[in-house]
Amino acid sequence: MKCSEFLTELTDYLDGSISTSVRVELEEHLQWCHECEVVLNTTKKTIEIYRNNQLYELPDNLRMRLQEAIIRKCKSVKNCKSPD
């Protein structure tokens, strides 16, 4: 397997959606290709770091504004069962 072929399969490999035979070939390639091993590990880390660090928190007043807008919308339709 060449490095370019390794790259093509990288996403399926990371997502575990790869056939056993291709996986074996990839893992063989990794045994001797240090560069692809680094690409694999750092790509894994890239995904992990974005997943673990949520970058945007819900602004404080948004939930309340949203709630008010929905109540207004609810009151404009007939079958609204609003608490007030």
Partner: protein, 208 residues
């Protein structure tokens, strides 16, 4: 990790909430809002890069979902349906902001796009130990903002929000291979750009 049983309960519970909301129960709809408003805001913020726009997207998406609840057939998860509405709203905002440029989710980038790995130094120590929380957050934001809208939307839905490839494809009106190809490029481009900050610094690399 969610157990299968817990997942099934969540889905059943979600369907019950949707049914109640359809019959006009506002409290049921509010519970759905509270369940997902954080995720919807994050997705909107990632796509639009603008907090004001992202807030509008959240509001418009939930109001649209509320108004069109009857059209939700329950063939997909409510969350998937909601995200699709939000993604459309967010892309519309983005197009309006960049009226001079076309923003398309299915833009095809076949040219040299920075996906080929050039940085092959390992990342150690762990980047999370190298930077403080807020500095790391700034690096991650700056880096993902540099991706094209099509790439970052796929990355955010698949890798940050954890939707499946099939769900992402359905949501964006793309084929499964197109999602996979964008995801690969997005991951590799992010990796390449993050390497600038995270690669091991050996003494020889340090210009003096």
């Amino acid at each position: 990790m969610e157990t299968i049983q817990k997942k099934a309960e969540n889905i059943a519970d979600e369907l019950a909430l949707v049914q109640a909301a359809k019959s006009g129960d506002l409290e049921a709809f509010s519970q759905l809002v509270k369940r997902y408003d954080r995720n919807i805001f994050r997705i909107a913020q990632h796509i639009t890069h603008n907090e004001e726009d992202a807030q509008d997207v959240v509001q418009e998406a939930f109001l649209k979902a509320y108004t069109n609840l009857e059209q939700f057939q329950g063939n997909s998860k409510f969350y998937t349906w909601l995200v699709r509405i939000a993604v459309n709203e967010a892309l519309m905002k983005l197009r309006r902001r960049r009226a001079d440029k076309t923003v398309s989710i299915d833009e095809d980038v076949e040219t040299e796009d920075g996906s080929m790995p050039r940085e092959v130094a390992d990342w150690s120590p762990n980047p999370e130990q190298l930077y403080g929380q807020s500095e790391l957050g700034d690096i991650l934001k700056k880096t993902i903002q540099g991706l094209s809208p099509g790439f970052r939307t796929v990355f955010v839905l698949r890798d940050v929000e954890g939707l499946s490839t099939e769900e992402t494809a359905e949501m964006l009106g793309l084929s499964v291979p197109a999602v996979k190809s964008r995801l690969l490029r997005a991951r590799l481009q992010l990796r390449e750009r993050l390497a600038k900050y995270f690669k091991s610094r050996r003494s020889g690399d340090n210009p003096r």
